[in-house]
Symmetry: C2
Subunit: 216 residues, 2 copies
């Protein structure tokens, strides 16, 4: 019966703040997650959170930690590096799609997340399993990271309307100067998930070819 943290009924905590942040983003998108809105969500003054976190970036980092570690939950390796790497990357994409702002904030202020880097650890491990040397593993990891995070951030902010708007913009260009873009316009941006999978499989194809060539 120690319960030192029990006898003061603390209304706020880092965990509650992260809960509120994730709830707001899932309900109304990343732009709705202002500190004033978090205060309302927590039934507290907007500035109360500063008792528990240094600044907003710390909330985003804590949220990123939770989202990333949840995305890694239940991963089961099959033994095939290609299958497993594809799984890991699809999980990372899901995390970025759901919480682009929290995850992107890590880029500008790298921080040491307690559980958040399991997917990255898995990806690096699987790349090393291929037998490629560590210098190539490093750039291959950066490639997959850039493609995954980059494509996901574009897709996270895209809507049915913005995709349609792009098709219209391209279709409306002067066909003399833009014969290919106008011809292709209506085929573009039909299915972001499928386009990502196509690109990812291209990258995995090429990596597999590099592995065979290095082994042969």
């Amino acid at each position: 019966m120690v319960a030192t943290s029990e006898h003061t009924p603390q209304r706020l905590s880092r965990e509650a703040i992260v809960d509120a942040y994730l709830r707001v983003v899932e309900a109304d998108g990343p732009d709705a997650a202002t500190l004033r809105r978090l205060g309302a969500e927590l039934g507290a003054d907007p500035t109360s959170v500063y008792r528990h976190v240094r600044d907003k970036d710390e909330i985003l980092a804590a949220a990123a930690d939770r989202v990333l570690s949840e995305a890694a939950e239940g991963f089961e390796p099959t033994g095939s590096w290609r299958t497993d790497l594809r799984d890991v990357i699809m999980r990372a994409r899901g995390a970025y799609l759901a919480h682009p702002q929290a995850l992107m904030a890590l880029q500008s202020s790298p921080s040491s997340l307690p559980d958040g880097y399991r997917l990255a650890e898995l990806a690096v491990g699987l790349l090393r399993d291929t037998g490629l040397d560590d210098d190539e593993v490093a750039v291959a990891f950066e490639t997959l990271e850039g493609f995954t995070i980059g494509a996901a951030s574009l897709d996270a902010y895209a809507t049915r309307e913005s995709e349609e708007a792009w098709r219209r913009v391209f279709a409306a260009l002067p066909p003399r100067e833009y014969p290919n873009l106008t011809a292709l316009a209506l085929r573009l941006y039909q299915d972001a998930e499928q386009a990502f999978a196509y690109g990812l499989d291209l990258l995995l194809d090429a990596l597999e070819a590099r592995v065979k060539e290095a082994a042969g």
Copy 2:
């Protein structure tokens, strides 16, 4: 001697505003380009620009148009789709690295740039030259677009310090739980340009293989 636009010595114009925007970003980065700063740069009241543009997004779109069309200047096709596509993509990367905010703003509000889509037109044309069918050309274009824009936006905001911070974060993780990430930490983020080129060549390798396989 018509000169209808001459007899009123207009201090501001869309062109002058875009000039000022590009100058500020090149001097002090995208975050410095506030409307108040643009006003100071133009020797005018911060709100004067609203006489010439609807909102800030319109300034960003006009700047994107200029940056993109300049990036396409001087392109000379060699006749090899792979060589030319690589050139086109590297030019697009340069534009995104220099003005990430202006170019990224296009994503959320697609607009019909007068000259800005020449690189996109070239990329689509080169992909069609491979002989792949138009549905595959569409997803291949989206793949290259996502990789190029995504990697460039990450790289645009990265600094020597943030890269070093990431290496330190990964190196400091508990090695029992993160054996691969800690082992690889110091090899990561050494040269963004080289890592991008590696990834781009992987994608081009895979596309070339798809072309051969479709032809054979």
